[in-house]
């Protein structure tokens, strides 16, 4: 078979995918970068008007953007340590050889097949002020009426409630990530540590955690990026309110595009989020990877 025909055949295999990626990813990416340098109102203007770096300059003097950034950071800073803590502890527990751990694994993982927007509907009902089960439990069963809240309508609790939904949805998935890391630690290390008289806590600190470095890295990056992109449950449960207390970056970008029709500025925010996600994964890789050697 001649080399030319072989190359042609190879391209036949890959062209359909490239067409789809080109039309729906590459073109939108290029267009997105272009739009971010323009003023483009989808409804009123025919075509984008080039404005240079104006959108980028506006970004940090826009008080709503700062609020969205702050809320997103808050969400991330609560979400990511908690999900690491919960999922790591659960993974340690489920890594034992006790019968039934497979069953627990599945039940904890189940929310991964519940769409986040539908989880939002479920939790809106659970967190409802008057016939919501959470307030009822706190007030009538646990007799702690001071802890009841109008969860989604109070500024202090709304964003935390959204974090809780995110944790519910994703904790099982992170458990799975940790478990696959735990399974790859060779058992004989533990055996020899036992022989040397290391207690369970020492084994955890000196064997398990150092060997799980790459799992921690994966879960950390994954959960931070997930938090930066939080959107579904925000739209369903609070729509950014009360006030602007749950206005997050994704929602603010979406509103700019499809409520204010300011497509150019919306793309600037979107690119900012993209850059943020990229920088975070690079930093984590730099900080955590070299120490593995």
């Amino acid at each position: 078979m001649s080399k030319k025909i072989s190359t042609l055949t190879s391209w036949l295999f890959i062209t359909p995918s490239l067409l789809i990626i080109g039309t729906f990813l590459l073109y939108p990416l290029v267009s997105s970068i272009y739009l971010s340098f323009t003023n483009y109102n989808f409804v009123y203007s025919n075509k984008p008007e080039f404005t240079g770096f104006e959108n980028f300059k506006n970004l940090f003097s826009d008080s709503y953007f700062i609020i969205a950034l702050r809320n997103t950071f808050y969400y991330t800073l609560v979400f990511f340590p908690l999900i690491i803590l919960f999922s790591f502890l659960l993974a340690l527990l489920l890594n034992s050889k006790t019968k039934g751990t497979g069953f627990f694994q599945s039940t904890i993982l189940l929310p991964i097949v519940v769409p986040l927007s539908l989880a939002g509907v479920m939790f809106t009902w659970i967190l409802a002020k008057d016939f919501g089960i959470l307030n009822y439990l706190l007030d009538n069963i646990l007799k702690l009426p001071q802890l009841t809240h109008f969860w989604l309508a109070e500024k202090e609790t709304a964003l935390n409630s959204l974090v809780a939904v995110g944790l519910w949805k994703y904790v099982g998935f992170c458990v799975i990530l940790f478990l696959s890391g735990l399974k790859s630690i060779p058992g004989d290390i533990y055996e020899s540590a036992k022989v040397d008289g290391a207690n369970p806590l020492q084994r955890l600190i000196y064997i398990t955690i150092p060997n799980l470095r790459s799992s921690f890295l994966l879960v950390a990056i994954w959960s931070i990026i997930q938090a930066i992109k939080v959107y579904d449950q925000v739209v369903v449960m609070t729509k950014g309110g009360p006030g602007d207390s749950t206005l997050v970056l994704y929602l603010y970008a979406w509103k700019n595009a499809f409520v204010y029709f300011d497509m150019g500025y919306a793309q600037t925010i979107a690119l900012f989020i993209g850059a943020l996600a990229f920088i975070i994964s690079v930093i984590f890789n730099l900080v955590l990877k070299p120490e593995r050697k």
């Binding site: 072989s6 055949t9 789809i20 990626i21 990813l25 997105s32 006790t98 097949v113 509907v121």
Partner: protein
Amino acid sequence: MQYINKYKIGNISVIIIGVLASLIILSPIIWIIFTSFKSVNEIYSIPLTIWPKKIVFTNYFNIINNLPEFPVYFFNTIKVTLGTILLILPLSAASGYALARRDFYGKGLINSIIIAFIAIPYLVYLVPIYILEDIFKLLDTNLGLILPYVALNLPLAIIIMQSAYRELPGELEEAAYMDGANSFQVWLRVLTPLVITSLAAVTIFTFIAVWEEYMFARTLMIKTSAQTLSVGLPNLKVEAKSWAYGTLSAALTLSLMPTVLVFVVLRKYFIEGLLRGSIKG
């Protein structure tokens, strides 16, 4: 003897914490299912009941009688999910094969482009895709969701398939070429049957991603007749106040059934598919 005791205590604590964690995770779903079988009066009366006092199916009849949108959402979701999976499987298998087992000009570049796309948040593509679909009249059509979904999930699918094809031994191909098979036959008949588990992994992570996708579905599907469950159901929450959470719980229960059933049956494959899909950005 002491060892056995320790072992038992360990076991019991594992089970206790496991049961507690499972209960906490499952309770919202169980609560919604129980609510769906209560009468409206019972749902809105204090003290709240956990188990329905009297099991009624009013809420389910309500869906049939008063919610013509519900089956529409349901079938749209199934059509879009199936359509995406049916496109993504051959596309990712063909590209994965070419990138793993063939040498050709431009391969390195294509590879790095595909990897780069995995890390980009979906939001970046949304506005340009909206404008594109507006021009090509794809808004409010099933295809208008299927095509972006295929594109968004394709880079990861290609990478999974590529590593699957790369792990296969080279002798198989050589023997098939000796017997006079062409590249297409080698790909489809000889190699692809050996990467079925990876195709299953691609199917599962695509299924999960598409079934729950919210932002694109919400933006590109404006008419009720084109919407999917993840978008349509939350809208019902806003629209209807009178029957509110009774009917809504029944609708939620019905829409969670298919995925939960698939999950329970294919649990092992789910974990595998999720693990391989975990690098998505």
